[in-house]
């Protein structure tokens, strides 16, 4: 397993809909996606951010700890997540928009579980017709 970097993938800024967060989203490069193939070290289901720590082997096989920031469970529940959706030891593929500095951290885009299920932070959003 290794991480795959997609340089400058054309992720439309228009897709970067603001989500519940407690910090500026400007730290993340929305024009890039990084695909992390690795093992869950920790998963915390909490406000204001849910987060995942994933151990991802680099090109030399050394494991690098990536921090992945997700929105609040308020949204994730509506997108089909549960507090036990993933647990330490699970093999996962996570796509993130990385921080601009090149440090191993990013904001969540999608998760693919070992059984092939794909989860995002969408679709239901508060205050929209699909949210009553």
């Amino acid at each position: 397993m290794k991480s795959v970097l997609f340089g400058a993938v054309a992720v439309a800024l228009a897709c970067a809909v603001p989500v519940l967060a407690h910090h500026s989203p400007a730290a993340f490069d929305r024009s890039k996606e990084v695909k992390l193939v690795g093992t869950v070290k920790d998963f915390r289901w909490q406000n204001p951010h849910t987060w995942i720590e994933v151990l991802v082997p680099d090109e030399k096989g050394k494991e690098v700890l990536w921090g992945v920031e997700l929105t609040s469970p308020t949204y994730l529940i509506r997108a089909g997540w549960k507090s036990n959706t993933i647990k330490p030891g699970d093999k996962v593929t996570v796509v993130v928009n990385p921080v601009r500095s090149g440090e191993p951290a990013g904001i969540f885009r999608s998760l693919t579980l070992a059984d092939g299920r794909v989860l995002t932070e969408r679709p239901a959003r508060l205050g929209t017709p699909d949210s009553k």
Binding site: H22, S24, S101, L126, G127, S131
Partner: protein, 273 residues
């Protein structure tokens, strides 16, 4: 007999003299200590709530979520509307723009767990629970459960000499026809309080919100006018809309001391402190 009566008279004289001295001391003390200000009835005092008042034109009790369909620049206090800044505020704004140019983040104090304050909690994608009483509206943003109270019981803003200045300020509202007009001032002068996008807030910040309920009670329209003589010239205006949310209750949201240890982006090199 005569001797006994004399002793009683002498004792009474001593008592009267003692009382007179005590009264004089009390009077002197009351002159030295100013009387405490008269405490108005609390907004939650039954005697205040039950006072006779005209019926409110609308009741905004409910959960609300900002309409972000216009996109980010539609609900932030965007560059298109920023007034002419005073020199010190312009320095912050320039540093903010330079940080963006370099792919960095300027002074993201909220990310470091400082309170967002008003007006930011009224412009962000966190729900707000509002509970309206005849005397006040209690607003609780899910964003760090920040509480804001808009008093409607006819009180004035607190004397500036005793008010405790805060990030949410002090809000007093009144009804004008079908509009709730809220004036908020008495903000803190803390350097971690921002209006938006690199523009600081000061203790001179004053916000007028004109709030209408539209769309058959499903939308709040909030027209905001901001002035801050320390930071910009004239008025800074913007309109936000909030949609009613009936299937969500706000939860407990804390910026815990260890939160950022697991959010590497908040300690990243991209930050300009």
């Amino acid at each position: 007999m005569i001797r006994s009566a004399s002793r009683r008279v002498a004792g009474a004289l001593v008592l009267v003299a003692g009382l007179a001295i005590g009264a004089a001391q009390l009077a002197a003390q009351s002159q030295a200590q100013p009387a405490p200000p008269e405490s108005p009835l609390s907004a939650l005092a039954p005697a205040n709530i039950s006072k006779s008042r005209p019926a409110a034109p609308f009741n905004l009790t409910g959960n609300w979520f900002i309409d972000n369909s216009p996109g980010i620049q539609g609900w932030l206090f965007g560059p298109a509307t920023i007034p002419k800044l005073k020199p010190e505020a312009q320095e912050h704004r320039d540093a903010y723009l330079q940080a963006i140019k370099e792919g960095k983040v300027y002074r993201d104090d909220i990310g470091q767990c400082w309170p967002a304050g008003v007006p930011i909690i009224m412009t962000r994608v966190w729900p707000i629970a509002m509970i309206q009483l005849p005397t006040a509206i209690y607003m609780i943003s899910e964003f760090m459960n920040s509480m804001r109270v808009v008093y409607l019981d006819g009180r004035s803003h607190t004397d500036p000499d005793i008010v405790v200045r805060t990030f949410n300020g002090e809000s007093v509202g009144r009804w004008e026809g079908d509009t709730l007009v809220v004036e908020t001032k008495n903000f803190t002068n803390d350097p971690h309080h921002w209006v938006d996008q690199g523009v600081p807030a000061s203790d001179e910040l004053r916000i007028i919100e004109r709030i209408r309920m539209i769309n058959n009670g499903q939308t709040l329209e909030i027209a905001m006018t901001l002035t801050d003589s320390k930071n910009w010239e004239g008025e800074w205006k913007g309109v936000r809309r909030w949609n009613r949310v009936n299937d969500h209750d706000i939860g407990e949201v804390e910026c815990l001391p260890d939160l950022n240890e697991h959010l590497q982006s908040t300690s990243s090199k991209v930050h300009v402190r």
